[in-house]
């Protein structure tokens, strides 16, 4: 089982990247977590450029999303919405929409912020966008406010409630990738 982890922040010591690393603590042994670290290499989306061919960094990101069983995105909130460069990468990945690597892919959104709200607007907007891309968006909030105070020296989350939320969301995300047996329900026959 492979999880592709994408951080929406390019900062080297990003709290969102830390949050993705912290998620590793709650992963089962069968879950291989791959951190995507090339967000800065995605060029600005331009449909004229698209007509000339898919840029190599975009093709790489599409391939990695496709190869993953589930995708986990940790996003900061910039100006009450999705960071532009993260959205730009998703705009590229969405083209052409029929070949979206997110189609039917379980995906979840989490986020850390230095503000008091944890970036819930960016996360909500991102869930909407992922739905448009065809992802099966796993509901569940892990919004980490005051991020500077939420990690210990080993990079683990210190808040018990946040730890529980993240563990639960990872369970739900991984669980939604496992093929479910068909559900049989009693049907009324006339």
């Amino acid at each position: 089982m492979r999880l592709l982890a994408i951080s929406g922040s390019l900062r080297r010591d990003s709290y969102n990247t830390q949050l993705l690393r912290a998620a590793g603590e709650f992963a089962s042994d069968e879950l291989e977590i791959e951190l995507y670290e090339d967000l800065a290499t995605i060029p600005p989306y331009d449909s004229d450029e698209e007509a000339l061919g898919t840029p190599a960094p975009v093709a790489d990101l599409k391939r990695r999303i496709k190869a993953a069983d589930v995708v986990l995105i940790a996003t900061p909130e910039y100006n009450s919405s999705i960071p532009g460069q993260l959205k730009n990468a998703l705009d590229w990945v969405s083209r052409p929409i029929k070949e979206s690597p997110f189609r039917s892919k379980p995906a979840a959104v989490i986020g850390a912020s230095t503000s008091a709200y944890g970036g819930v607007w960016a996360q909500a907007e991102l869930r909407k966008v992922l739905g448009v891309l065809g992802a099966r968006v796993v509901e569940g909030d892990v919004a980490v406010p005051h991020a500077a105070e939420q990690f210990d020296a080993e990079g683990r989350l210190t808040n018990a409630e946040t730890r529980e939320q993240l563990e639960q969301l990872l369970d739900d995300l991984v669980g939604s990738a496992t093929p479910q047996p068909p559900q049989f329900t009693a049907t009324a026959t006339a």
Copy 2:
């Protein structure tokens, strides 16, 4: 009176850029419209990069917003939200927020789309973001659906209702930049 026009699309024959040009038809002689054409040169926002100094293309955009009396943004809608590269430019421009060149700047949002809805979600999200940046966002929708069929050979809008809406919005935008005389209202005296 100077209006800075920003298109959210990088495509050479962008309908949104066409829409901004079409707006020129309704501008008064005193209004100088400047089209921003360097959106593709804005690098991905990264606060580590910001700490090293403002990149030249970002400084240029900030200067041009500051020098304008009003700003008009025409945006396409990508995946039900703001195009990533446009949002990325605004993320840069917003830093530091206390020096936002949008502070108290009248701004309006319009958009064209090849879809049936005209990109109203992207526009709504963009108005929210501009509000966060301190802009005085002028309300009023000019959402042009089926954009491929909405311009004549001279680049003018053909739909009478759309023409009226755009003219009205430009009036409101320019009017909101003009210092208003104080409004005196009768006050009850005890």
